[in-house]
Each structure stands twice: as structure tokens, then as C-alpha cells.
Symmetry: C2
Subunit: 363 residues, 2 copies
């Protein structure tokens, strides 16, 4: 446990590291349990947008979050004498701890207030940081197959653990990479959001999968993966357990879906072999993205998976990672301007077949 | 008509300018009518995303579009001796012409091919550029009330005209402002997209409005506007015809909706008085956004309106402009990273009531 009461969990590749027993020697004020910064502010920080029918979270505390610190002040590096960080240990493999500036936090006791136009409720939930390596200057693309598997195992563990908390409806694992994406800490890390509602994107995919079954009789994800493997035109790389391909209607200039061969509802259901095999394929995709324009590719990598408590959704939805890489040409980014941001109408300058070929050739 | 066959339309504030009769003296290859660059490529550039149930357009031609030219090479400035631009006239008030690098173009003859996973059809439609002023260094916030009204009148005209083209289902008017948004031409301008489908965002708002009527008996937009005016806490500025307010669940740090007092389905139905009164209120909002951090505010401003051909939708949906301003603090932008881009889960650092107060005080 950290000095302010936040939980920290080490995922060690060697046994008996003893790290879990190390104390956080910082003097930090105790985190308020209710998720409200002052403890007295009513926790109604989740507001209903009546025009789109979605919840929006408000977290003014995040305005003060750590912003692009120098390497010497990195809060995600291991602690060293005279420089205590978020991680009390002098080294680590993969470590997970509660986010100091969470958008979702606290318990689930608050009711929905209001009716229709202005519903509000607590922005309850939990946000965690997942550090991939103690090496400040590394990136996930550089790590060993084993470490990549350890990162996935950590996300799988958190999916299962956080999904058991009362009130949590969905666990969302992701990595933001690069200042172009808005990253405020450069140390290689991902995140986990345990959410008190099912994200709109997941509801949308579930509706499509149910519609697809009604019209075609099969599972949307199974049929899509089979068609991509059979066609092969957009496949980037694959092994027995995973296929990485550019979707036929990719919104981002270099977008890659990495799907397991055997569909599972969430990461906790991946086999040991699948987790191990992920380490062989994922870095190969990331390295190709970096090689495309000989520069670190800014991307968002997000794990879609089924909601926690809905058997119907868990029967249809598939766990897979979507990498949204946003550089379209040397020095040029894909922006989500008015058509994308205001209408959800996307246009892309790069044909998916071209993107897949470029990625294959970059290997 | 421009030299390559694209249409150009002047919206003059004084009569008899004679501009419409000026010839484009450039030698340009004729634009292919089908919307495919080569005339031989099958026009299947609109692809169905089966996971989200949305169309995505592909326009490789846009990779070569003009990218941040210097002021002397601006294609949106009036033509002058030795420097012929997209506008043949030596001056103009507001001018509209077809986009040289359209994401949607051509006629509507192509069928949907494929079934389920890989549907494709022509990316037919029309994209237009709307220049707000001949002054390269101005911005919409600087323009007179009259000019602002002329811009709105141009958008209203294009909404009505383009909505009559067979196959067009929706007309979308917007402005991207600032390099942070991805603007590639700095001359003050907006755009119009005439689309062969109803945008996902519009379908989503319609579903909410229908749901609201079923549950509450009234119109969602009418009730929302009445509640905001009555409450007043989030109102920025208003006059008899328009109210500008920060929505209670704003996703962007400084987001403003400007709604007409009398609901209309699209801009073509605004009264003359409403169009004129818009010139008094809209620049006041934009000036406040620029004043907040004493720097030009990067924003996307988009006109939501009802689809062309659906009487049910036209009875429920309202025309209004949504300004999405993305600077959250001096030198800091709001990014749409993995939670927003991958899950449609938004969190904001700025409370809407705080944003509204800051905008009122910036006036």
C-alpha cells in the first residue's frame, strides 16, 4: 500500500523479490475514500448528456496533474535514495498502482439524481497505472516477449480483480503513447479504468454483433477474423494464437486489430498459451509501426472486452486490442476535426490494403 | 465555374459586384465527374465498418492536399495579377466553391456491394469551402455582425440547395479553427459536406429525442433550452433570437451551444431576423473564447441539423451550432486519448459552470 492508502501490486517475473513488503516512505495526505477531493463536495461528478445519452465525468483535480516532468522527476521510475517516487522498490518488472489523479474513484453508494435532462451520480470506479518496465527510456515495442506477456497477464489480472468490485460494470485497459496523443508522463506505461457503466463503444459493438447474429446466424467477431485470415490482404502478422490485421474500414491511417484465434469475453479468459504467444506478436506490430516513418509512432492501444455482468454481452463480444496509430505521413498526423468530432463521419487518406502492405514490408 | 468545372458562388453584401461573371484563367485538368480520381478506379471508396455500423470514406487524393502554405501562396485569397487562386475575383465578401480535394464527390449511381462484413459504395456527395472574408489574417471573431450573418446565410443557402440533390441525405456545415485542430489552410474559412448518409451523431441525437418524447412528452431541444434559460447558471450570452450556453455535461473544456429561440429543423428555415441577430451574438462568443487565455482559441464549430428526407427526424431535431474549444489552460490542450477515442468515455477537467462564468467574465 502507498503512503496515502492507494494499493500497489507487483507482477514479478522472478519469485521472492520481496518488493511487496517495501514501505512507501513518503509523507502523503490520506486519499479520501469517496472519490471527492474535499470529502465534503457532493460526489455528483458523473453527468448525463441528454443529447447523446452518455455519461461524462468531471475531475477538476486532474487540471493539477503532473505534466511532462523531466526524467529525473519521473514519478513512475523506481525510488532511489533521495528521490522517492510512486514505486517504493528500487527496481520492478511490471507494477500496478492506483492513479493519483483518477477520473473515476471511490465507492458506489450515490444514487442517480435528477430525471431526464440533468441526471447526476458519483464518478465512482477505479483508475490504475500499469508500468511496463523500470527503464524510463524504453517502450513497449522494445521489451522482450516475456515482458510483453507479463504486461498482458497484469491487465488480465486487473480485469478479473476489478470486475468483482460491486458497481463496476466494465474494465477498460489501454496505452496512450506519445506526446501527440496527449501523454503527460513519458515513462512507458498503460492504464486501467474500472467503470460504473458500460462504455458507449461497447454498447455499440454489442448492438452490431446482435444484429449480425440475427441476420447471418454467426458471431460477428468469429466471422470477421475468419474472413480476414482467409483473404489475407490486410493481415500484418500472425501466429497460432493471434492475428494482427488492418480492418477493411480503418478510421486511422495505420490501425491494427490484434485478435486471439479463440474468442474469449475478456482478458481473464485467455489461455496461458495465448498470453505467452502474445509476446511473440505484439512487439512485432509495434516495431513495424515505429519503422514505417523511422520515428516513434504515436498511438492509442485499447482493449475492447465484454462488460462484467451481462451474460448476453459476454456470449457475443470478443476481447481484442485495437491500435490506433495517428501518423499518416512523415511529419503529418491524422486529426479528428469537425467531421470526425462533431458528426462521427470519418475519412481516411490511407487505404487499409496499402497500410497492411506497408506494415508487412516494414517487418 | 472554375477552370476545372467546379462551381463557385459569391455571396455579395452589395449588389451588382459583377464577380460571378469573372473567368478563372488557370489551366486546370477537368475534374472527373464520378468522384474517382482516375476515372477508371471503381468508386467504392465508402466502406462499411461492421463492428460499429458506420460508413468510413477513403480519399487517397487528400494525402496530396495543400498543407499550410505561406500567406503569399494561399489558394483562398482573391486572385491578383501573377497569382491566380481558387477565387478568380480581385475581392469578395463571402464565397463558396467546391473543394479541390473532396472526401465526398460525384453522383449517386453506384450500388452497395457486399453483404454484412464488407459492404462498399461510392463516396458520393459534395464538399464545399466557404471563405468568410478576403482578408487572409482575419478570423470569424473579428468580422462585423453583418458579415457573420452573411456567412450564416451562405451556409443556410447551401443547406437548402445541396439538400435538393438526389442521394444527399444530410448537409453538414462547420469550421475548423487553428493548427491544433489540424487546419491545413489558415485563411478564415468553413466547409460544407453534403453526405449520402445520415451521420451517426445525428442518428444518435434523434434516438435520444424520440426517447425523450416517449418518456417526457416534449421536445428534447425545447425543454433543454428552456431549462438553461431558466437556470441561467451556464448561459454565456443571449439575445431575443439566440442563447449561447455551456452544456451541463460538456465534454470539451470550453464547449458552447448556440441555439435559436425558435426551433427549426435546418438553417434554411431560420427567419431573416434570426439570421441577422446571429451576427450580434456569435462573434461575442468567439471573442470571449479568444480572450480566455489571451490567445486564439483552437476550436471546431459544427452545425447540427435535421437530415434532408426524413419528416420524423425533421419534427424532432433542432438546428444549432456546437463550438468545441480545446484549450483547457494556458499552453494545455484537451486531448481525446484512449478513453475518449476507444470507448467514447469522456472526462473533463473543467466544470461547465466554471467555464460559463469564465466566459461571461471574459466579455
Amino acid at each position: 500500500m502507498l503512503a496515502d492508502g492507494r494499493e500497489i501490486i507487483y507482477f514479478d517475473e522472478a519469485p521472492d523479490s520481496g518488493r511487496a513488503d517495501l514501505a512507501d516512505e513518503r509523507e502523503l495526505p490520506r486519499v479520501e475514500p469517496a472519490g471527492s477531493e474535499q470529502g465534503s463536495v457532493p460526489d455528483d461528478r458523473l453527468r448525463w448528456d441528454p443529447l447523446l445519452g452518455e455519461w461524462v465525468a468531471f475531475a477538476e483535480v486532474r487540471q493539477g496533474r503532473t505534466f511532462l516532468p523531466s526524467a529525473g522527476d519521473c514519478p513512475l521510475c523506481p525510488s532511489r535514495p533521495g528521490k522517492l517516487t510512486e514505486v517504493p522498490a528500487p527496481d520492478y518488472d511490471v507494477v500496478v498502482f492506483e492513479n493519483k489523479f483518477p477520473a473515476f474513484a471511490g465507492s458506489f453508494s450515490g444514487p442517480v439524481v435528477g430525471a431526464g435532462l440533468y441526471d447526476r451520480r458519483p464518478a465512482s470506479g477505479r483508475c490504475e497505472v500499469v508500468c511496463f518496465t523500470a527503464d524510463h527510456d524504453a517502450s513497449l515495442a522494445d521489451l522482450s516477449a516475456r515482458r510483453t506477456s507479463t504486461v498482458l497477464a497484469a491487465w488480465a489480472d486487473r480485469t478479473t480483480e476489478l470486475g468483482q468490485i460491486a458497481g463496476i460494470e466494465h474494465v477498460y485497459c489501454f496505452e496512450n503513447r506519445g506526446p501527440e496523443v496527449g501523454v503527460t508522463l513519458q515513462h512507458p506505461h498503460g492504464q486501467v479504468y474500472a467503470l460504473p457503466f458500460v462504455p458507449p463503444r461497447i454498447r455499440q459493438m454489442l448492438a452490431r454483433a446482435q444484429d449480425y447474429r440475427a441476420n447471418h446466424g454467426g458471431n460477428l467477431f468469429d466471422d470477421l477474423l475468419a474472413a480476414e485470415v482467409s483473404d489475407g490482404l490486410r493481415v500484418v502478422v500472425r501466429n497460432d494464437h493471434w492475428t494482427a490485421f488492418v480492418p477493411a474500414a480503418a478510421r486511422w491511417p495505420f490501425e491494427v486489430l490484434v485478435m486471439p484465434s479463440h474468442r474469449v469475453p475478456d482478458l481473464g479468459y485467455l489461455s496461458h498459451d495465448a498470453v505467452a504467444a502474445f509476446g511473440d506478436i505484439y512487439p512485432a506490430v509495434l516495431q513495424r509501426l515505429d519503422a514505417l516513418f523511422d520515428a516513434p509512432m504515436p498511438y492509442m492501444a485499447v482493449w475492447h472486452q465484454a462488460p462484467v455482468g451481462s451474460p448476453d454481452a459476454r456470449r457475443e463480444l470478443a476481447a481484442f486490442v485495437q491500435i490506433m496509430a495517428m501518423r499518416r505521413a512523415p511529419g503529418k498526423l491524422k486529426y479528428r476535426a469537425s467531421t470526425e468530432s462533431g458528426a462521427d463521419v470519418w475519412s481516411s487518406d490511407v487505404l487499409p490494403e496499402t497500410a497492411a502492405r506497408m506494415l508487412r514490408e516494414a517487418g
